[in-house]
Amino acid sequence: MVDVARDAVAAVFREEHGRLLAALVRRFGDLDLAEEAAAEAVAAAVAHWPVRGVPPNPGAWLMTTARRRAVDRLRRDQALATRLAVLRVEAERAEHAPPADLADAGGGVPDERLRLFFTCAHPALPAEDRLVLTLRCLAGLTTAEVARALLVPEATMAKRITRAKARIRTARIPFRVPGADELPQRLPGVLLVLYSIFTEGYGARRDDVADEAVRLAGILRRLLPEREVTGLLALMLLTHARRAARTGADGAPVLLDAQDRSRWDRAMIAEGAALVPEALAGPVGPYGVQAAIAALHAEAPTFADTDWTQIVALYDVLAAIDPSPVVAVNRAVAVAMRDGPTAGLVLFDRLSKEPRLRGYHPYLAARADLLARVGRFPEAAVAYRAALAAAGSEPERALVRGRLAELELESESGEAGTWT
């Protein structure tokens, strides 16, 4: 009974935390006070629910309790109350409209999380702090969980969170959604925070962290159904759907060309693919295009049978709206699949002087693969050794060593072309 209630509290708190916190910050104008009140409400729930049962509307119960705790705190702390009153008056001056009173919300908790997304991802905050605050305030992770997610010691993380919150207070970073004219400049910052959380999890093979990013993108899309938000959610779903296939039994990474496609998460692919048309309706952004590329991979029966013509065309679009050396590398790989390895190598040679690709492992490894496929074995061996030196992890190194060993067998037997 106690365990059931505790699990119910944990589940409700996880789902409701961002919403609860956002509503409290909106009401009281202070992140610290809001967090304190939210934590006290949860502690009260843990104490009462096992005895009295879980209330019919747990979110509203938590909100009412938290609000009472915050009001109690303000009664005790007049200096804080005065400071927040001034803040409130000034916030009204900025918005020309008073914040909605929660009593008018019909018992439910109004969803103010969109404001919190923009506060946590504010450009005046250091990039690292934006990830931390988003995980802490919107995903509802504890300090220890944020520390684990970003591989930082807990004490360091606690200091960082305190500092980030102090910065919001000192600079008075507002709790508001940017106006329509500002939105195009501010939204990419919010999306980048979510995508960074995702790649952090995906790169470290931490499914829980990637799951959090997908969940946050889903929340953001419900609150702000902009094309690029949809595109980002689709991209995450279509990428995350491959999670079971991208690591071998020995822990080594399995690249897209060698993945067992029967292990892809078809339900997640369907969810992601269904969003792509919406992400592409109108002027397209980088996340929408990347989602479209991921969808083509997802529906291809094999790597060779992928619609490479369309993928090259989409990389052309991506290179036009968001050019980067990494996009150029991916495009060169797609051209190699469409027109053969020789055509790909021409593009790779053109990229060889790009300083940002020096030591970029995927570039070096992909180029080595193409050299091996056209039978230029000595050059391929040199390229694989360069890729080996640039590999960032032991599994990556193991993969390259495997290719080098195959290459030696290949060149001994004197047969070129079996790689194609």
Partner: protein
């Protein structure tokens, strides 16, 4: 909430003025800041190159040198202190400032309030 807008010129012309700044743009901006009721104070430097730097060592010895402009890419041209509700409003005023264009920049810093 008070913020200081530190206006840095991106390049200095031979007369020591900021490159590419039209006086009428500044007059229009200054009028906007006053009309909106957010102006607290503000000054502009006489020029961008005349400065002296004073340092006092631990032993009390004083050194005075001319401005450290040789290595600085941007030089302070002036400042405003404005009183606005929050950082986003301050950033909006900074973006409207002529000094933010043409290779210049405006640094926005919150001012300490010891009264509250």
């Amino acid at each position: 909430m008070k913020y200081m807008l530190l206006i840095n010129a991106g390049a200095v012309d031979v007369e020591g003025g900021a490159v590419g700044c039209a006086p009428e743009d500044w007059m229009a901006y200054d009028k906007q800041v006053h009309d909106a009721g957010v102006f607290v104070s503000g000054e502009s430097m006489a020029d961008l190159v005349t400065a002296a730097v004073v340092r006092v060592a631990d032993d009390g010895r004083r050194t005075v040198t001319d401005g450290p402009f040789a290595e600085a890419r941007e030089v302070l041209g002036g400042f405003y202190v404005i009183d606005v509700p929050d950082l986003d409003v301050a950033l909006e005023w900074a973006a409207r400032c002529p000094g933010a264009r043409g290779g210049g920049s405006v640094v926005v810093r919150p001012i300490a309030d010891f009264g509250a």
